[in-house]
C-alpha cells in the first residue's frame, strides 16, 4: 500500500516540528528553572563582593575573575594554534594518509571526556612542569581540550570557501599565504568564530578539567601562578558539599546570563562584519 505523499509530508512536518518544539521547551524549562531559583540572590552586592564562610554568605566576585581569565587565556593560546594548524592541513598539504591520520586523531581527541584532560593537565602541567594549581596550568589544559574543536571547525570553514576564489587569487599573482590572508581567512571567519564560541562555552562550563589544574582558591589571583576558582567550579562545590543552595543557584544564573551575553555579542559582531564586507 502506498501512502499519499501529502500525508507523508504532513507527517514529516508534525514530527520535525514536534521535535523542534520539544527541544525548545526542554531548553526553556532548564533556563527558567535556574533563573527562577537563582535570580533572587543575584544583585550588585552578590556580583562584586568576596564570598564569606566558604561561600555560605557573601558574593562570587573572585569566581567571576576566574571564569573570565581561564577561558580568555585558553582561547588566546588555542585559537591561533588551531587556526594555523587547520590552514596548514587544508591549504599546504595534499590529502595523504598522514593528514587523514591527523584528522582522525583530532576527531578522537574531541570526543575524550574532559576529566581525562584534567588528569593529563594535573600530571603534566601541575606536577611535571611544576606550575602548581594555577591560572597557567588551568588555561593550558583548557587550551588542549578545545584545540580539536577549533581545528575541526576552522578546517570545515576553510574547506567551505569556494575553490574558484583561490584560483582567482592565484591567477592575480598572489602567493599561498597572501591568498590565505586576503581571501580564505576572511571568508572562513564566521565558521572559525563559531568554533571559538563553542570552545568558550565549553571552557566556561568546564569543571572536571579545571578543578584538577586551576584548583579552587577563593582568593583574587595576582599572578599567572595563582590558583583560581571558576563559577562552574564554585557552583559544583556549593551544591555538592551542601554549602548553600541559594548561592549555588545564584552562581548558575549568573553563569547562564554571562554565556547568553557572550553569544549575543559574538553574533552581533559577526553580523556587522559580514554586513560590512557585503
Amino acid at each position: 500500500m502506498r501512502i499519499n505523499p501529502r500525508h507523508t509530508q504532513k507527517g514529516a512536518v508534525i514530527i520535525l516540528g514536534g521535535a523542534t518544539i520539544l527541544v525548545l521547551l526542554i531548553l526553556a524549562f532548564i533556563i527558567i528553572f535556574i533563573l527562577e531559583k537563582g535570580l533572587p540572590v543575584v544583585n550588585l552586592q552578590f556580583l562584586s563582593s568576596k564570598p564569606r564562610d566558604l561561600g555560605r554568605a557573601g558574593g562570587i566576585f573572585p569566581t567571576i575573575i576566574g571564569t573570565i581569565i581561564l577561558p580568555v587565556v585558553a582561547l588566546l593560546i588555542a585559537t591561533p594554534l588551531g587556526v594555523f594548524t587547520s590552514v596548514y592541513l587544508s591549504e599546504y598539504t595534499k590529502e595523504t594518509t598522514l593528514t587523514k591520520v591527523i584528522r582522525f586523531g583530532t576527531d578522537c581527541l574531541a570526543g575524550i571526556p574532559s576529566i581525562i584532560f584534567g588528569l593529563f593537565g594535573y600530571i603534566f602541567f601541575v606536577i611535571t612542569l611544576q606550575m602548581g594549581w594555577s591560572i597557567l596550568a588551568g588555561s593550558l589544559t583548557l587550551a588542549v581540550m578545545v584545540l580539536p574543536t577549533i581545528i575541526r571547525t576552522s578546517e570545515e570553514a576553510i574547506r567551505a570557501v569556494p575553490k574558484v576564489y583561490r584560483e582567482v587569487s592565484f591567477s592575480l599573482g598572489a602567493s599561498g599565504w597572501q591568498t590565505v590572508k586576503k581571501v580564505i581567512l576572511p571568508n572562513a571567519l564566521p565558521g572559525i568564530v563559531t568554533g571559538v564560541m563553542l570552545s568558550i562555552g565549553r571552557s566556561i562550563g568546564e569543571t572536571a578539567a579545571v578543578i584538577f589544574t586551576a584548583g579552587s582558591s577563593l582568593r583574587i589571583p595576582t599572578t599567572a601562578f595563582d590558583s583560581v576558582r571558576t563559577m562552574a567550579v564554585h557552583f559544583y562545590i556549593l551544591a555538592r558539599e551542601g554549602i548553600s543552595q541559594e548561592n549555588a543557584y545564584g552562581t548558575a544564573a549568573t553563569l547562564i546570563i554571562a554565556v547568553l551575553i557572550i553569544n549575543l555579542t559574538a553574533y552581533w559582531l559577526m553580523n556587522r562584519f559580514i554586513a560590512r564586507r557585503g
Binding site: E167, V168, F170, L172
Partner: protein, 251 residues
C-alpha cells in the same frame, strides 16, 4: 611584429594521459589569437599552461617548453606569482571576489605593494574604463562585486586583470554566459586593448573568433590542427577537420 610566446613541442599530461600533444605555436604580440575547438579538445588546458595555473591541480606533467619573450616559463628559476602578474586571466564564469568593486580591482596592485590611495584610485578608474564598465559603477565602487549582473561581473573581472598591468590577457570563454549586449561590450574592449596587450581568447562561439581574432587556432583532441589568419581559417581552411568544425558539420 614581435613574438610573445614561442611554444616548442609542448606536451601536457593529466595523470599520465596526454591532453596537449606536441604543440608548436607562436603567439604574436598585440594581436588577438582566437582558440576554437570542440569540448574537451584542450583549449582551457592550453590557456592555463601559459600562466601555469594548471599547477594548482594534482598529477600533472609537462614536456617541451614555452618561451615568453625568449625565456622558458617552465624554468625552475621562474617566479610563478610574477609570471601570473604578467599573464592575466579571465575565467569562463565571472568570479568577483566577495569584496567591494573597488577592492576587487585593486586586489592585484595591492599584492604588488601599491598602497597609495591616489595611485589606486587612478588605477581603478583607468581599468574600469578600459573594461567598458566605469559608467555603470562609478557611483557605487563600495558595492559588493557579487551584487553586479553577470555581464557586469565579467567586465569587472576584466578590469581586475587590467589593473595588474599584465602583458598578456588570457580569456577562457568569457562570454559563454552573457547576453549579446554584454558580449559586444567585451568584444569592443578587446579590440581596443590589443593595442597594448597580447590577447588569447578561447571561445565556443566560432562567430566570435571570426569577429575579433586576428589569428585563429583550431584544436581537436589535444592537437592543434591548424593556425592562421582568421579570414583564411574561416574562408579557406587547409584541413578538412577545421572546415567541418566551422561549418558546424562536426559530429
Amino acid at each position: 611584429m614581435s613574438t610573445k610566446f614561442n611554444i616548442h613541442n609542448f606536451n601536457f599530461y593529466f595523470n599520465g594521459s596526454p591532453v596537449l600533444k606536441d604543440l608548436n605555436l607562436d603567439v604574436t604580440s598585440n594581436e588577438i589569437l582566437g582558440v576554437i575547438g570542440p569540448a574537451g579538445s584542450g583549449k582551457t588546458t592550453f590557456l592555463r599552461s601559459l600562466n601555469r595555473m594548471n599547477e594548482l591541480e594534482a598529477g600533472i606533467r609537462t614536456e617541451g617548453e614555452i618561451l615568453m619573450d625568449g625565456q622558458n616559463i617552465y624554468d625552475p628559476e621562474v617566479d610563478v606569482a610574477g609570471l601570473r602578474k604578467r599573464v592575466g586571466m579571465v575565467f569562463a564564469m565571472p568570479v568577483p571576489l566577495p569584496m567591494s568593486i573597488y577592492e576587487n580591482v585593486v586586489y592585484g596592485p595591492r599584492l604588488s605593494g601599491i598602497s597609495s590611495k591616489s595611485r589606486l584610485d587612478e588605477l581603478v578608474e583607468k581599468s574600469l574604463k578600459e573594461a567598458f564598465i566605469w559608467d555603470e559603477v562609478r557611483d557605487r565602487l563600495k558595492l559588493s562585486g557579487l551584487r553586479l549582473s553577470g555581464g557586469q561581473q565579467q567586465r569587472l573581472c576584466l578590469a581586475r586583470v587590467l589593473a595588474m598591468k599584465p602583458e598578456v590577457i588570457l580569456l577562457d570563454e568569457p562570454c559563454s554566459g552573457l547576453d549579446p549586449i554584454s558580449t559586444a561590450k567585451i568584444e569592443d574592449a578587446l579590440t581596443v586593448l590589443k593595442k597594448e596587450y597580447t590577447i588569447i581568447l578561447v571561445t565556443n562561439n566560432t562567430k566570435q573568433a571570426a569577429r575579433v581574432a586576428d589569428k585563429t587556432a583550431f584544436f581537436l583532441m589535444g592537437e592543434m590542427i591548424e593556425v592562421g589568419l582568421t579570414r583564411q581559417i574561416f574562408t579557406a581552411p587547409a584541413k578538412k577537420e577545421t572546415h567541418d568544425y566551422i561549418t558546424g558539420r562536426f559530429g
